[in-house]
């Protein structure tokens, strides 16, 4: 392949790709890039509202939520230690109240700019506050499992930003369509209150309630009686992630090849048009076949974007699986705490029995030693000990009862939530597959059309 480089007719689609990108990155300041690109280069990606199953009585019925625009901004004179300016992208969140209901939202139309980090804050808050809910995921921070041409871009690439916009919109709409989450005040604030929203979030003290990673890790290892249902869910979530990842990986490679194949056909276009110059009878046929080769080269770009969007929708479920896992983890933590409370109670009860002499100390203990050396303890001290222990036991019983209630309540709501999620997953995935099939049908039809035309050209030669 060494000889290929120097040859102008050498097949290379990379160069064409490059020039394609240069065309779009030409205009003016970087700051406008995303917006210009989003507006001019291609039609905006449609959001996938079709996927979001609107539940009865949810916010989304009365309110329209959109993320309509994105803009690149530079932090005001606040330079980091590296001397680099803080550059970030903001997204315009627009809310339109269609009919005023008792949802605690203001009237009319509001629009405000939010950063990705604010979306993250909102989601963290929701996850902690509604730990039994499988909170819809945000679009990923960096792109993974992408079609190769896409994976080289940075976080400010127009395509990336546009896809994130679509993802963020999907997130807000999913939250808005969720029976519980849509009623949250902080969520409403996110949509409508520009000022002091962050302070309001922090004021809820949700961070204090956040389980540390260590704690949950601890819990999952030391659990005595793991709940089978949640164990299964956890396994399912891992499997789902594995399966979707596998599918997306192959898909990315597949699409890569497909893209390459289309682009290399562009070289035929060039060769044909040069070749047509020296042929008398075949010239016209070659020339027009060359046009179709070019068309074949070009139209793939459109389909690639659609493909990527479907891939994004599928990918959302990798992150949904994470959300499912986090609900399972929460259950583990609660279960662990419940077991700990039970253990403590059992220990205290045993201690009391021992003190009262009702139960023989099963093992060698300090108390046994003492009673052997100093003789049995006096009745008063025994009584005092018993009293203390009884108080402690009562406290433990209270605690246990509370933990049991909490866990039961959690399990109950979580299982309802899981059922809802499963239903949503089945519908969504089917919808995604149908969309995928439709896209493949479109691509095939396009392919048939272009190649049939080319066949006609060749036949006329």
């Amino acid at each position: 392949m060494a000889d290929v480089t120097g040859d102008p007719s050498a097949p290379s689609y990379d160069s064409e790709l490059l020039s394609d990108q240069q065309d779009t990155s030409g205009p003016t300041s970087i700051g406008d890039l995303a917006r210009i690109a989003a507006k001019n280069r291609k039609p905006k990606l449609p959001h996938w509202t079709s996927l979001i199953d609107c539940q009865d009585g949810t916010l989304l019925e009365q309110v329209e939520i959109c993320v309509t625009e994105q803009e690149k901004r530079t932090g005001a004179a606040r330079t980091t230690s590296m001397g680099m300016k803080d550059v970030y992208t903001v997204y315009l969140v627009e809310t339109r109240v269609k009919e005023s209901g008792g949802q605690g939202l203001g009237e009319g139309h509001t629009s405000l700019w939010r950063r990705y980090s604010e979306f993250e804050l909102l989601r963290n808050y929701l996850v902690v506050t509604y730990s039994y809910v499988i909170v819809p995921p945000l679009p990923e921070k960096r792109m993974t499992l992408m079609w190769q041409q896409m994976s080289t871009v940075d976080n400010f690439d127009a395509d990336f930003i546009e896809r994130r916009r679509v993802g963020l919109e999907g997130f807000l709409q999913r939250v808005g369509a969720h029976q519980t989450l849509c009623e949250d005040g902080i969520f409403h604030g996110f949509l409508q209150k520009e000022d002091s929203w962050k302070e309001a979030v922090h004021a809820t003290g949700f961070q204090a309630k956040q389980d540390s990673r260590l704690k949950s890790l601890n819990a999952s290892f030391r659990l005595k009686k793991p709940d089978r249902k949640f164990e299964d869910l956890k396994n399912y979530a891992s499997e789902l992630q594995g399966n979707i990842t596998a599918v997306l990986k192959v898909r990315a490679k597949l699409v890569d090849r497909l893209y390459g194949i289309h682009k290399i056909h562009g070289n035929y276009g060039r060769v044909f048009s040069e070749w047509s110059g020296i042929e008398q009878e075949m010239g016209d046929g070659l020339q027009s076949a060359g046009h179709f080769m070019d068309a074949y080269k070009d139209y793939i770009d459109d389909y690639m974007n659609e493909e990527e969007q479907i891939a994004d929708q599928l990918k959302e479920y990798i992150y949904f699986a994470d959300a499912l896992k986090s609900v399972c983890r929460k259950q583990e933590v609660l279960q662990y705490e419940l077991e700990k409370a039970g253990d403590l109670l059992a220990a205290k009860t045993l201690q009391k029995e021992q003190v009262m002499g009702n139960a023989p100390s099963r093992s060698f203990s300090l108390r046994g030693m003492r009673s052997k050396i100093f003789g049995p303890e006096s009745q008063e001290s025994k009584d005092a000990q018993t009293k203390v222990l009884e108080e402690q036991i009562e406290e433990c019983e209270q605690h246990l009862k509370q933990a049991t209630q909490e866990t039961e309540a959690f399990i109950e709501s979580a299982l309802v939530e899981v059922e809802r999620f499963k239903k949503q997953r089945t519908t969504d995935l089917k919808e995604i597959f149908i969309n995928y099939a439709i896209l493949q049908i479109k691509i095939s039809k396009r392919g048939i059309a272009v190649w049939t035309n080319m066949k006609d050209c060749f036949q006329k030669m």
Binding site: Y236, N267, M282, T426, S444, A449, V450, N453, M454
Partner: protein
């Protein structure tokens, strides 16, 4: 019938021709088998020397009765021969003919690739003025030389080679060809000729001649320019198609692993198991369609592109030989003019100070001797010039006729090759389309089962399928416009 007559005339003519030593420059490297070679070569030789009638007849024959073929050659049924020292493959060369030059109506012989190489070499030597179709290239890796795929491809190419030769109005009468088709044992014939030496000779001859031409007819300059560009384009096409083929093969492989990932996923989903299963099946079908397409490109398109790359080299070679023949003629003409000038000089010159006169000879005698010598030289040269002029004319006529034939074949073949490519693509896309349309029916019905929302959702996306079709017709319209 006329073919036989042509053969006959060639034979009778050949005797006269053979007597002139100048007419057979190739026989210079003679050995003890000269006679045999001369006999073998003679009739074929005539087609180029006494050439005008036969060459014209050749092209006329093609126009008058292009459908009447009297020589059918097939190459098939390769066999592997394993010996301790060497392992090789032979191909059956089967001939069916009504030509009277052949004693039997059918011949079946087994030939190795080397034998084909020998035949082509002989044809190149004896049919200098004709375009000899190419043979498939030697294999670059000895290891793969005996692989089945390679042999099948080579066999097809050898068949094509024989077919092209059998269709050639002149070359198909070559005696070496007859030997190749009929001789039970080819080794003795092969030993009889020193192919390699003369081949090296001819390449040296041809490369040196290209730039030295005085007045090449623009026709041939255009031919040369054309074939150079054509060769370039053909090799681009070959390179592009190979690269695409590689990508398509990888695509096929990816598709093959795509289906199983869906089925695997299906194992852990209760409600989606059927959906994922049918997706997997659909992708398997797509994988197959891509595989079929790559196979068709590999067996039809690529060999055709390769053949035309090599074919254009053959054309280039013949053009160079024609140039050489013309140069020979031009040089002879120059020499003749020079000698004629010299003769004029001698006539008017004073020979008193010539070397002969100094040596004590009579100047007039010297003058006389010189004149006589020159006269005989001029005489000889004149004959040579006449002969070379004829030869050059024949070469030109053959070149034009062969080129015309080549163009006709090329047009047909290139058309076939690309039409086949497009048809393969259409077929592949159709198979994918069928697979996806089938699966979408399954998905839709499953969705209808699970909920009724699905229906309305799907209907919103349905028009886009038709929109794709509409888009293409728009595209057609645009292309039509461009054409106008």
């Amino acid at each position: 019938m006329s073919a036989n007559m042509a053969d006959e005339t060639q034979k009778t003519d050949s005797r006269d021709v053979e007597e002139d030593p100048l007419q057979n420059p190739l026989s210079s490297g003679t050995d003890d088998e000269e006679d045999i070679i001369a006999v073998i070569r003679a009739p074929a030789k005539v087609s180029s020397t006494e050439g005008r009638p036969s060459a014209i007849m050749g092209s006329m024959k093609l126009e008058e009765e292009p459908d009447v073929k009297d020589l059918f050659i097939t190459v098939d049924d390769f066999q592997k021969h394993v010996f301790t020292i060497d392992t090789y493959i032979t191909y059956r060369v089967f001939t069916r003919t009504t030509r009277s030059a052949f004693d039997e109506p059918e011949y079946s012989v087994r030939r190795r690739y080397q034998d084909f190489l020998w035949l082509r070499q002989k044809l190149l030597e004896t049919e200098e003025t004709h375009i000899i179709p190419p043979l498939p290239e030697k294999h670059s890796m000895r290891m793969d030389r005996l692989s089945k795929d390679f042999t099948i491809t080579r066999q097809a190419a050898l068949h094509k080679f024989m077919q092209r030769i059998s269709e050639h109005p002149v070359v198909s009468f070559n005696e070496y060809l007859k030997v190749f088709l009929t001789a039970k044992e080819l080794t003795s014939h092969r030993k009889a000729s020193s192919g390699i030496v003369s081949r090296i000779g001819s390449t040296i001859k041809t490369t040196t001649s290209a730039l030295m031409l005085k007045n090449r007819s623009p026709e041939f300059t255009m031919m040369t320019e054309y074939i150079n560009t054509f060769a370039e384009k053909m090799s681009s096409v070959d390179r592009i198609s190979q690269r695409i083929l590689k990508e398509q093969m990888d695509l096929g492989a990816e598709y093959e692993s795509y289906g199983p990932t869906y089925r695997l996923w299906g194992n852990s989903e209760v409600e989606l198991a059927d959906t994922l299963g049918s997706l997997g099946d659909c992708l398997d079908k797509c994988a197959k369609s891509v595989k079929d397409m790559t196979l068709s490109i590999e067996t039809n398109f690529l060999p055709a592109a390769k053949e035309y790359m090599l074919y254009s080299d053959a054309v280039k070679g013949t053009l160079r030989k024609r140039d050489y023949i013309q140069m020979e003629y031009e040089l002879a003409c120059e020499e003749l003019t020079r000698k004629k000038n010299e003769r004029e000089q001698v006539k008017i010159s004073d020979q008193n100070y010539s070397l002969g006169a100094i040596m004590g000879k009579d100047p007039s005698d010297v003058k006389e001797a010189k004149s006589t010598k020159l006269e005989s030289q001029i005489d000889k040269l004149q004959k040579q010039v006449d002969f070379l002029s004829d030869k050059s004319e024949v070469a030109n006529a053959d070149m034009k006729a062969d080129m015309e034939r080549w163009h006709r074949n090329k047009r047909k073949d290139v058309k076939e090759m690309f039409t086949g490519l497009a048809a393969g693509q259409v077929e592949s896309y159709k198979q994918c389309l069928d697979a996806w349309e089938e699966v979408i029916e399954v998905l839709k019905s499953e969705k209808r089962h699970s909920d009724d929302v699905g229906n309305s959702l799907f209907q919103t996306s349905e028009p886009s399928v038709h929109a794709a079709g509409g888009g293409d017709s728009q595209l057609n319209g645009r292309e039509e416009d461009e054409k106008e």
